[in-house]
């Protein structure tokens, strides 16, 4: 019987071209969708793709392809797959690779390359893609031997999806795609230099249990690591069991229900007063899958000054990188939380602490002054939240609209929030929505973008139309690069250098050009009306909201300041001011 299997396996080792190997490998990896753009160096791959039955989405720019793959990966948890041609095709994905690297998104990216015999001769559409992408990929390869190709692809999927996820790039010279070799996808992966630690060290877990039992003011800072590990349930169970309040990073949103009484909101530069003060005042800080980004910590000198810091992270290099850490736990978030839940230990006595936090929540909620004559961007997000019962997938770019979405769309479920966090990439939201919708076909997907970022990748409207994806593209149009304008207002004496764009094109007409419905609103009543219309349509719709142009994102921790030095914190009752 065993011999039979070996025989069968041998028979499977059929000879085929590199291009066909790639297709077969993608099938073996159960890849549902590829995002890509053809070109000279990948013609043999596209030729095999033609009759393969593998679903391929032709974006209108390679940057669109890779951001779509990121959106797909963020929602599905599966690796996003991208194909781009050599030279400009490959350099066009550099932003997306960097974005995926810093936000830990699993991608497997194939780039074409000029034929092996002309590499290094500055051939047509040649670029040193392995060199260029080395610092912005988790790992990258150039195929130099056709026999290596199946092994490389298998390793790439393994590396991209395990440990701390990230993008892996495979650069394939054109001759490697036409050359034939034996296809063996059964071989085992052997990577002695790559052995991620998944399970926590028991001693460190005990240390944390001990620290919790003695803590008076503990707090959990939960990042996207919780989402990558699918550990939302465990996080909630642990927080409830130990009565510890939870704060999210920007990318962690949705990991813990926003309407839960233990939730304090988002931390950082535009986080809630309560979350930031809790980080400042806490005596035990349990970081789960967040990397203490500078936008979260503010000035490190004043960050959690009285706290014992425990840090659970699958990437050991993140522990102790920015914040000295007393209890380091290298582990998958889910494994560590499961272990913590089952430990015997006295929960922290947080009654007084929670009372204090609730008082802050009541006194200093997120705040804006509404005006029905115009559309307040915060109000717009709240309206979207109500229309979608907080269950939509939201994708954004970077900037004011992103912060308002993070503040006012209350994510109660995990894997609903797709944003460019670490890199802060304009033009991310629209293509990411395509990938997100393909990952979850039944979900309501809303791409909230600014009028600036939208124009960086708006060509992808073509794809939305072509695939008839019922994505609602919402432009928070303040006729400016809002966050730049805000900083110029506050820190550069209102010298609005190249941040005001009063002559934006007619986005409704643009929607028409792409053969989709477009609506515009300038007052709150109109906004409500067009939202109602848009959500009644099962098709792509573009909505252009002319919001209050000079609205700023508050509260705010100015650069160089500590989290306790927030400005723009206003009590809900104005008479208290």
């Amino acid at each position: 019987m065993a011999n039979m299997k070996v025989e069968e396996k041998r028979a499977q080792k059929t000879k085929m071209s590199g291009a066909l190997m790639l297709i077969e490998a993608l099938k073996a990896e159960n890849v549902e969708v590829i995002f890509g753009y053809p070109g000279g160096a990948v013609l043999p791959i596209y030729d095999k793709l033609y009759s393969s039955g593998v679903f391929h989405v032709l974006t209108r720019h390679e940057q669109g392809a890779i951001h779509a793959a990121e959106g797909y990966a963020r929602i599905s948890g599966k690796p996003g797959v991208v194909i781009a041609t050599s030279g400009p095709g490959a350099t066009n994905i550099v932003t997306g690779l960097t974005d995926a690297m810093i936000d830990s998104l699993p991608l497997v990216v194939f780039t074409g390359q000029v034929a092996s015999n002309v590499i290094g001769s500055d051939a047509f559409q040649e670029a040193d893609v392995v060199g260029i992408t080395m610092p912005i990929t988790k790992h990258n390869y150039q195929v130099r031997d056709i026999q290596e190709l199946p092994k490389i692809i298998k390793e790439a999927f393994h590396i991209a999806t395990t440990g701390r996820p990230g993008p892996v790039l495979i650069d394939i010279p054109k001759d490697m795609t036409t050359m034939e070799g034996e296809f063996d996808y059964e071989q085992e992966i052997h990577l002695p230099g790559y052995q991620p630690t998944i399970h926590p060290n028991h001693l460190q877990i005990r240390k944390l249990v001990e620290a919790v039992s003695q803590a008076k003011k503990p707090v959990i800072l939960a990042g996207a690591g919780v989402l990558h590990a699918n550990a939302s349930k465990e996080l909630q169970q642990y927080a409830e069991q130990q009565h510890i309040p939870v704060i999210h990073t920007l990318l962690g949103l949705g990991g813990f229900p926003a309407d839960h009484p233990l939730f304090l909101g988002m931390a950082g530069m535009h986080g809630t007063y309560t979350a930031n003060m809790a980080l400042y005042e806490c005596d035990l800080l349990i970081n789960i899958g967040a990397r203490f980004d500078d936008r979260v910590t503010g000035n490190l000198k004043y960050f959690a000054p009285n706290a014992t810091v425990a840090h659970i992270d699958i990437d050991p290099a993140e522990i102790g990188k920015n914040v000295p850490t007393k209890i380091p736990i290298v582990s998958d978030a889910k494994e560590a939380l499961k272990e913590l839940i089952h430990q015997e230990g006295k929960p922290a006595d947080t009654t007084a602490w929670l009372a204090q936090l609730n008082e802050w929540k009541k006194q200093f909620p997120l705040y804006y002054k509404n005006d029905v004559q115009t559309i307040k961007p915060q109000k717009l997000i709240e309206m979207i939240y109500e229309f979608t019962n907080g269950e939509a997938i939201i994708t954004t770019d970077v900037g004011q609209h992103q912060m308002w979405a993070a503040q006012y769309y209350k994510f109660n479920k995990p894997h609903r929030w797709v944003t460019s966090g670490g890199l802060g990439t304009m033009g991310f939201g629209l293509p990411a929505a395509i990938g997100a919708q393909l990952a979850d076909k039944n979900a309501t997907v809303i791409s909230i973008v600014g009028d600036g970022g939208f124009q960086m990748t708006l060509q992808e409207l073509s794809v939305i139309r072509e695939l008839n994806l019922p994505i609602k593209v919402i432009i928070v149009n303040n006729q400016s690069l809002g966050m730049v304008r805000q900083w110029q207002e506050i820190f550069y004496e209102k010298r609005y250098s190249h941040s005001l764009i009063p002559n934006q094109p007619d986005f409704v007409k643009l929607a028409e050009a792409y053969n989709m419905k477009g609506f515009r609103a300038k007052t709150e009543a109109e906004a409500c009306e067009i939202l109602k219309q848009a959500f009644s349509l099962d098709e792509p719709v573009l909505l252009d909201f002319h919001v209050t142009a000079d609205e700023n994102v508050y509260p705010m921790v100015a650069p160089g300041k500590g989290l306790h030095e927030m400005v723009g914190v206003k009590p809900c009752d104005e008479s208290l001011q």
Binding site: G131, M134, Q142, G193, P316, A317
Partner: protein, 172 residues
Amino acid sequence: MRRIITMTVNNRPGVLNRITGLFTKRHYNIESITVGHTETEGVSRMTFVVNVEDERTAEQITKQLNKQIDVLKVNDITDQAIVARELALIKVSVTPALRQEIYTLIEPFRASIVDVSRDSLVVQVTGEPEKVEALIDLLKPYGIKEVARTGTTAFTRGSQKTAASYKTAFII
């Protein structure tokens, strides 16, 4: 502070680029690098001497290096009993009349003359970087035309117990 970091890596195209790229990206300054084969086929050893600000940076370097898929093992061996050696070639201007003087001078360093011409000779010296420095300083008055140094290569000693006595033992 000066740290000596050794590591074993897969001998693949671009690995050195990967490592030095990481140093650039993370803003670490490299003082020297040596690379060569090991006893295992397909595995190379690298020795880095780096200057870092503090312990935390030193720790970050080894952690970041460890994340590289092609890096098999990283060791910061600065505080261990180690054998650290460097080779230097020093071309000195010397007239035939002074040759004998140079011979006498380099003898305690166990250095040797590996090339002689009418107006110069080449001294080869091996040892701790400090020893190499000392010899270069001694030869300076004669006129040094060129110096080529390999940078430090190092690994830990077989026995770590008597670390203190080893540390004083390797001058010359």
